[in-house]
Symmetry: C2
Subunit: 671 residues, 2 copies
């Protein structure tokens, strides 16, 4: 067990050169960020308006009028959770439009753009970010409060509905953006905005002040990040307050709900916390055992809890994190690394309930799982954490975006029949093709900020140890016992499991630790002169390192036929295939329709070939299989030996599905 904890490197020190991932990151820079900037400004034809810049400008006018003691612009009534709104050119400039959490979309974009600026200067992008930052500054109230919904619709209602109205969620994304912008450019303008809003929140909530906590978590992890970036203790204290008050009796959510109910003459609710499982506010966090409720929220809460456990060395909180980790990944995770099985509340379902066709598996929830996993890795280099992080990243997160960066999945099913999606209201949340944008557009900018900050997930360091978690080709500047090292990590996991680390310059005494992926068969390491030790899925190599030293790792990468845990009803008697970090699927495009009639032969030899899909060369699998013939006849018929014929089963990486038009898809195949 390690006794000190590790940190990711600043993005400026990790230069990703990977054949596959560099393309994805460039896609974000060159396609996704410009598109999203246009979307935030409501300049994408045919797309649902974002209203982000609109709302900022409307709020700025209110703030300016208030400061000047002038009459406020005419304001609409407080709308419901969503307003479809008119087309942008017919909008009332003084109205608020969109969801109450719309502000966060632009914050995510700023974070993504800032991460890109960390690794490559780009004056045009920088000036767009500055425009966004300036818009935000102008929308901030004099006391630091910042939320366009309440500024526009009635500041007197601020902080009255933490459960549903997401202003602390928006704050969290603001803080994440501000830190990224500051770290990328040294410009602290948004950080100042954030500090002022945080101080405004801290004046109201905290020990001895008002009790309250976010209905949609993220403020916790964002405040810990703000603390780590600035060293300012008060933000850690505020984050910790939000964690500690959560799920305690009387429920803060019940209390604020009762204030509203009383006002409208409705009877009050009981104030016990147990009704708030959907919000992970049904139990004090240290007592939590099961991942429940809205999956993104649960993952964000876990990330904040893990930050706290690490930064405050809180053993009880760390144990709760470990229990929630186990619940989420050992009982409730899809083979693709997706979590949140049910569209009812975008939520975790029961253990082992992992339906393939009605799956929700939201892109943002997989992103949240990556956050959580990295934070668990910071506490302990344990192969399982990195394995799950890699699984979510290479499969569900990537599936969330088309290979051309122009369309997105919110929901990532493991089985799709387009005819069913179109006609069956039970599947109305499942789209067989990616969408250009969403009214609730949380996923596209979340993908952008995760992929733009990928460098923060490869390596974590503590004083005398550098841990390699993801094998993504890159050049890394790190240090070992305060001696700087330049490292080259050579890898191409889409091709094979050969990994090489070279010390390009510098020297130091200490440990380099390399993850041994769970997907690896036999493996071999060559690291002359180093003392080797294997523990918890990592290979620790200790010694003196100097320029020219190399570590060669050769992880075998067999095609693996996987089966689900026997308690998963949906995967019973089925098989799926994976190789390295990639889970595979069958598409109609390659295999014809009626994929349920295919029968895989797990003992058949799989061949790895390369195929161009959506403009990208990807490793695909080919193997012999059987296909039941469709024979006319009765709806129910005596079981004869089913007439099956031999076919070649063609599987592509799951993340690449739905890039060649609409068709059936299946991850799990009968055997």
């Amino acid at each position: 067990m390690q006794t000190s904890f590790s940190s990711p490197l600043p993005l400026t020190q990790v230069h990703i050169t990977d054949a596959f991932w560099k393309r994805e990151m460039d896609l974000i820079r060159n396609t996704v960020l410009p598109y999203q900037w246009a979307a935030l400004n409501d300049r994408v034809e045919g797309a649902v308006p974002s209203w982000w810049m609109h709302n900022m400008r409307a709020a700025a006018r209110v703030v300016a009028a208030r400061k000047a003691g002038k009459a406020l612009p005419s304001r609409q009534q407080v709308p419901g959770m969503v307003s479809e709104g008119p087309s942008p050119d017919q909008a009332d400039p003084d109205f608020f439009y969109g969801w109450v959490f719309q502000d966060s979309d632009g914050y995510k974009w700023i974070e993504a753009a800032s991460c890109q600026l960390s690794v490559l200067p780009d004056e045009a992008l920088r000036s767009q970010v500055q425009e966004a930052v300036d818009a935000i500054r102008a929308a901030q109230e004099e006391d630091g409060y910042l939320d366009t919904f309440y500024t526009i619709t009635g500041i007197e209602n601020a902080f009255t509905n933490l459960k549903d109205h997401h202003e602390l969620y928006c704050f969290g994304h603001l803080a994440e953006a501000a830190v990224a912008w500051w770290q990328a450019t040294g410009n602290d303008d948004l950080l100042q905005v954030t500090r002022r809003f945080a101080a405004c929140i801290a004046r109201r909530f905290g020990p001895g002040k008002e009790r309250g906590c976010p209905g949609h978590e993220i403020a916790e992890m964002a405040l810990f990040r703000l603390y780590e970036a600035t060293g300012e203790q008060e933000w850690m204290d505020l984050a910790q307050f939000f964690l500690d008050v959560r799920g305690t009796d009387p429920s803060t959510f019940a209390l604020e709900e009762n204030v509203r109910r009383k006002r409208s003459g409705q009877p009050e609710l009981p104030v016990t916390a147990d009704r708030y499982e959907y919000y992970q506010a049904h139990l004090p966090v240290r007592q939590m055992k099961e991942a429940t409720g809205h999956a993104v929220r649960q993952m964000y809460l876990c990330s904040g809890m893990a930050d706290s456990a690490r930064l405050r060395k809180d053993a009880a909180l760390r144990e709760a994190c470990e229990r929630l980790w186990h619940s989420a990944v050992a009982e409730k995770m899809y083979v693709t690394g997706g979590v949140g099985a049910t569209h009812v509340g975008e939520a975790f379902s029961r253990p082992w309930d992992l339906p393939s066709d009605t799956a929700y598996s939201e892109t943002c929830a997989a992103i949240g799982l990556v956050f959580f996993a990295r934070r668990m890795l910071q506490m302990q280099a344990k192969g399982e954490y990195a394995d799950v992080m890699e699984r979510a990243l290479y499969n569900t997160v990537l599936s969330g975006m088309a290979l051309d960066g122009k369309s997105f999945f919110y929901v990532n099913p493991l089985e799709v029949d387009p005819a069913a999606c179109e006609k069956d209201t039970r599947l109305s949340h499942v789209k067989p093709v990616r969408q250009k944008w969403f009214g609730c557009a949380c996923c596209p900018p979340n993908i952008a900020r995760l992929l733009s900050s990928l460098g923060a997930y490869l390596v974590t360091c503590r004083e005398d140890t550098i841990c390699f978690h993801l094998y993504i080709d890159s050049e890394i500047e790190a240090s070992l016992a305060n001696s700087p090292l330049r490292l080259r990590l050579s890898a191409n996991l889409l091709k094979d499991g050969k990994v090489q680390l070279t010390i390009l310059s510098g020297s130091g005494e200490g440990t380099l630790a390399f993850r041994i992926p769970e997907w690896s068969g036999a493996w071999h390491c060559s690291a002359p002169g180093k003392e080797a030790r294997e523990e918890e899925g990592y290979l620790f190599l200790r010694g003196r390192w100097q320029e020219g030293d190399t570590v060669s790792l050769d992880f075998s990468m067999p095609v693996r036929a996987l089966t689900g845990h026997p308690l998963i009803r949906e995967t019973a008697h089925q098989v799926c295939f994976s190789r390295g970090p990639l889970v595979y699927c069958a598409e109609e495009k390659d295999n014809g329709p009626l994929l349920h009639l295919l029968r895989a032969l797990p003992e058949a030899e799989a061949r790895v070939e390369w195929q161009e899909i959506g403009g990208v060369d990807l490793p695909v699998l080919r193997m012999d299989a059987l296909r039941q013939e469709v024979t006319d006849g009765a709806l129910y018929r005596p079981l004869a030996a089913p007439r099956e014929s031999g076919v070649t089963l063609r599987l592509i990486p799951y993340f690449a599905w739905a890039n060649r038009g609409k068709g059936e898809m299946r991850v799990w195949l009968y055997r």
Copy 2:
């Protein structure tokens, strides 16, 4: 092809003596009807009130006041579709409570009770029916109109919402009840009520009058029944009008909806019929090809269409019936004879979409399928019609009621995991145990009326032919070319496929036709001296019949392993077992939990044994099978040879499931 059509025998001429079915019918008489009578009078403690008698009495007071020119009782506002209402002892005596179609529950009960009275006099039951009939008579308006909802809440709104407000549906059940009561007792009081209500309807709707048709069909088949019972042509004409106007442009449903929308200032809807598929009113009936929308309504419409095709020798309508039959039973029927796969609208889903766990398969829809099948049989003795009728009857209809007659299923799934039903909102319609009563209590009295009239489904006759469709032990009075015959049909299908027909008395020249069940393996017939011909699944025996003649049929009854059509995704690579008319299922009670881990060995020899379930001795199946062991470990793991151990698979008749407490159930098993 036969040129004349056949009719069922009056219930007074079919005395069921079958070991199994006599028990079911006695259960209806001794348990179900008394329970339902108490329910209709809101005298069942802890059950949802029916409000039937309450509403009749409240309506009667309105009618009496109106006739006397006195002030009407205070009336509530027109409620929505349902009013939960207070407990019966706190109800306002002048209010309407319950669903708008609540009247029909009592009509169904009268029909069931009357059918019972047809075969066995029972003074107590008769006087209860008379009490119900008297209550109905008192609630009838002076012009013949009869619907407690509108009488109580505002007669001026009568007939303004045929689409949703079910007054023509209630009329249909009234007519069915009136004919049954008259045929059982010769008492025409309810028939007079029906004639007056029918005349009231016919004054308003018909050629040259207002266009309109029932939103929930049944009036059509009920009016044809009224015509057949009384010979009064006007009822056939009204039924035919309802069929002919249905689905034509401009849609009568759109027109009446627009009247209401206009009144409330909403924009009008387009008046084309195509939006009304849920109501089977999207196309003229003769153009219909696919069974769609609400399944009970579709089956009742088909029954009315088949009546019309037969009575009016309408070839185009008959072809439409045949197309709808094919769609319903060859593409959209469960192996249990259930129809209507989706709870969304209690409706037919797409062809081949037959999920086991989210199945709706409403008891009433299977009853409607029995109605439809019998009517198709009246046009043609075709084995398929009787096979489906038997399948629905022995499986889904029977499943609708507990073996003790005290609780009921509305929904009949083919796979149940009680934990999922309790926690998964996607399964909120699926109950793992039968319920005592329902707010929408259509199913229990519908089972009662079908089982009480079972005699009408065994045999149909035309001048020179008696067709035997269901092999249920009974004594039958029929005639052949006008010569009366007394027949004994000996059978016990739960035991074996031996059937014997004996002429007890009488003689005649003509044909006795016997269905050759599709479940039969090799079969043998002994009918000395008769000319035999096999056609469309029936064996026609022609000759002179006289006292002492016997026909001995020996249908072999192998245990059959069935597989679903390859286009049914849900049953792919699975198998179910049946024997004779019975479909079997596995229950947790006999096989332990986690039924998805069982693997049937279709080639294993099945043993038929007898087992007492819920107080009834039933034939059960035993066979060798495999069960995958639950091994701890990763959620996803390399596929090794699954660890399976040999077990004895224990299957019980599907209809008998959930009679021994709550547990898992599966019809389809992996193989």
